[in-house]
Symmetry: C2
Subunit: 175 residues, 2 copies
Amino acid sequence: MTEPHLAPSGSGIPRTPVTREIYRNGMASLAAAVNVIASDGPGGRAGFTATAVTSVTDDPPTLLVCLNRTSSAAPAVMENKVVSVNALAPGHETVSSLFGGKTPMADRFAAARWKAGKTGAPLLEDALVSFDCEVTETVEVGTHFILMCRVVDVRGGDREQALVYFRRAYQAVSA
Amino acid sequence: MTEPHLAPSGSGIPRTPVTREIYRNGMASLAAAVNVIASDGPGGRAGFTATAVTSVTDDPPTLLVCLNRTSSAAPAVMENKVVSVNALAPGHETVSSLFGGKTPMADRFAAARWKAGKTGAPLLEDALVSFDCEVTETVEVGTHFILMCRVVDVRGGDREQALVYFRRAYQAVSA
């Protein structure tokens, strides 16, 4: 159960946030795995590229995904309430770009191979790792939804490298 | 303002989550930047290592940090309501280990150089990038707090590589 509450700043005087440009330039230095988030169900098939994915807790196994509320994938994801989180590997750059752009959903999915997960969400067949999830809670923060995702299945591949985004470019990371 | 709500699973029948071990093994393949989160104020100086950091929105500039509720740093962070997020670079492995272990807080901070940020949170002097933040909201999810952090300052260094954790080992990522 989510129990959010406002926490006024220590001084009680809100400080001015940085500009979007300064924030984005700073965030470009925060390396992050590149993932395709995919969903299917009554709301239709939809997916998007996200680096804003992180583990929350292993009790119960829960990760979070940030989703722009105006994203073309948002209505389907919110209706289906299931998602797969597919971590990408080098070679997936085109898939990443398609799911991160304005390409129609059918064309995005046609660019890769998928299999249905336990939840019904499509799993990317050659992902580095796929998490099959139910969206159990949603938190709204400004322009975005934060999706709390209970993990009901994990599928790992035999890929050896991760695809990471750092300073506005794709990088390969080896174990 | 946070507006969380429960979103029952599509089928109405909750599926069984994976075991912690399966989840943790899957998460080991999700590459992530390594950060030290530092705080200071009425609750005292405290810090911890976190890979569970991601951008939420740039309007207003907001990132999130996941914090174990039983962490030794949690009481101070929750009282101070300010944090710095310091992305690490290769060479920071010892600092990462100290802030991720059971070392007393004073000894953790003695292992590196710091300067006070606008919020009063200590900024790591040679970080890849530092975000100086006010904690504006907190969401409880199971064992963890999710801290919503408004960014009031960004300090970048001239470091060229990021320190990333992938498959339970540190890796260097170049731009």
